[in-house]
Point group: C2
Chain length 256, copies 2
DNA sequence: CGCGATTTGTGCACGTCTTCACAAGCGCCT
DNA sequence: AGGCGCTTGTGAAGACGTGCACAAATCGCG
């Protein structure tokens, strides 16, 4: 039953690199595990149990074990997981063994901040290019990088082997930029503009919309307010007990 | 038992103000519908069919109808939804009828950008306070707001009725700030720091981690690369057909 | 060398979310 | 008035994700 070859373990023999096709939910959690593991490694831990790691991340330990089992991970029963090995495995699966080049389009308010954000380098990415359509911004130097005109994207993409495009433009320009990115072969886009992008099949788009996050919080705030406004209900089937609704995406009340 | 006052139900008859407890997945989509509806309203549309709206947002139309039905929405069969009415309904449910005050803690790189982001005002929020622990940043004026020291948070929270706290500090300071926010009564937190926050029950935390988003994209990039690198497989049960995995969270390949 | 403590990996049941498909309702046109 | 086309709202089925609970595996110790 057990596969003897490691999927493509970092330093091992030239086995098949076949990536197991992980559930999306698992993929979304792997980066969190990775971050926690780095912290643990820095703190000197050599091994960690699923219980310990799950506590650090704030997830159910069974879920964590299942996630790790999906990538054929090697934990040791009775002991736990080897922290360094697990880091290697997750980084491999996430494709972080190569430092991917990111092109950032739109050096306005937000783009400026992203360009200066130092949290990327340590996590497997390199901002390789800054681009903007506004001629008055072209030429500006941010964090050692010079802003170039967006028209130069084809040249830049080729020279730097851009793997991921980040859109931090106003909404009105986002679709145009996305088309441009796609045209030069970028197949992964992170979109900060508040709009829906349409892209051809095979191109992945993730979006981050700050206002949406706030609005979701606002809903819960509204809801909590409407609950506490109610008098203490005896047995009314209408209102669940105040803490009775579980938070799915939102992390809530993680015990120390 | 039945509350007769309606907190602000849109102009209609005295319906029950009780917030239906929507599925989390629905709550997360409502803001997207709202944004699309505003666009449609600006474009002059008075009504919109579920098909049309779902196309604009990039979701399945049945899903959209079910989402809207959850909030007891009034669509008209054979016609569609009244755009203005639907906007009102969604804004009410999301608690956007009152402009909520947001406190932003951490005016570094990212915080600076968030403070200057003008996309909040139009979406129901007001940045009411900027705070930082670094004395050298206190006193700086950004977008008409003066940065105050984080120790002043209690006074600020009371004066401004802060409803939501945004943490844009380094990871090391995030937990401390979260504790502070909770202490002054904030029950909704948006966390940009790359770390897990533990908060008491009843406090909602949403997080945005830019590096995680990139890492998820990196996985898909890695995966796509490993697929195209394979020779055309005949019937190997290992590799699914290239387009065979559906994108759940990630939007992918929206037609036209 | 065997035993107990510990921890992984997973079968199973449950809940949530998604999608299809269709009846019910509405307006318009004849 | 009646019928027809369009659109909503929803029942039901399937896919997906989660969490419990336990067997299998490993280590350390006497």
């Amino acid at each position: 039953m057990s596969q003897h070859r490691h999927p493509g373990a970092p330093g091992s023999a030239g086995a098949v690199p076949a990536l197991p096709d992980l559930p999306e939910a698992t993929v979304a959690r792997l980066p969190e595990y990775l971050r926690a593991l780095h912290n643990l490694a820095d703190a000197g831990h050599e091994t960690i149990s699923s219980e310990g790691l799950s506590a650090a991340v704030g997830v159910n330990s069974a879920k964590l074990r299942k996630d790790l089992s999906h990538l054929g991970s090697y934990g040791t029963r009775g002991v736990g997981y080897d922290v360094a090995l697990l880091i290697e495995q997750i980084e491999y699966v996430l494709g972080l063994t190569q430092r991917r080049a990111v092109a950032l389009v739109g050096v306005g308010n937000l783009g400026h901040a992203l360009a200066g954000y130092d949290g990327f380098a340590g996590r497997g990415f390199r901002i390789a290019a800054l681009l903007d359509a506004d001629p008055s911004r072209v030429g500006e130097e941010i964090n050692g990088l010079v802003v170039r005109h967006v028209d130069e994207l084809p040249a830049v993409a080729e020279a730097e082997s851009i793997a991921i495009g980040v859109i931090a433009t106003p909404a009105a320009a986002a679709q145009r930029v996305a088309d441009l990115l796609v045209a030069v072969g970028v197949t992964s886009i992170l979109n900060f503009a508040p709009c829906v992008l349409s892209v051809p099949e095979g191109v992945d788009v993730r979006k981050v919309d700050l206002a949406i996050e706030l609005q979701i919080l606002s809903f819960h705030e509204h809801r909590k307010a409407s609950l506490t406004a109610l008098p203490a209900t005896g047995g009314s089937a209408l209102t669940a007990l105040p803490g009775g609704f579980a938070a799915t995406d939102t992390q809530e009340a993680i015990g120390t």
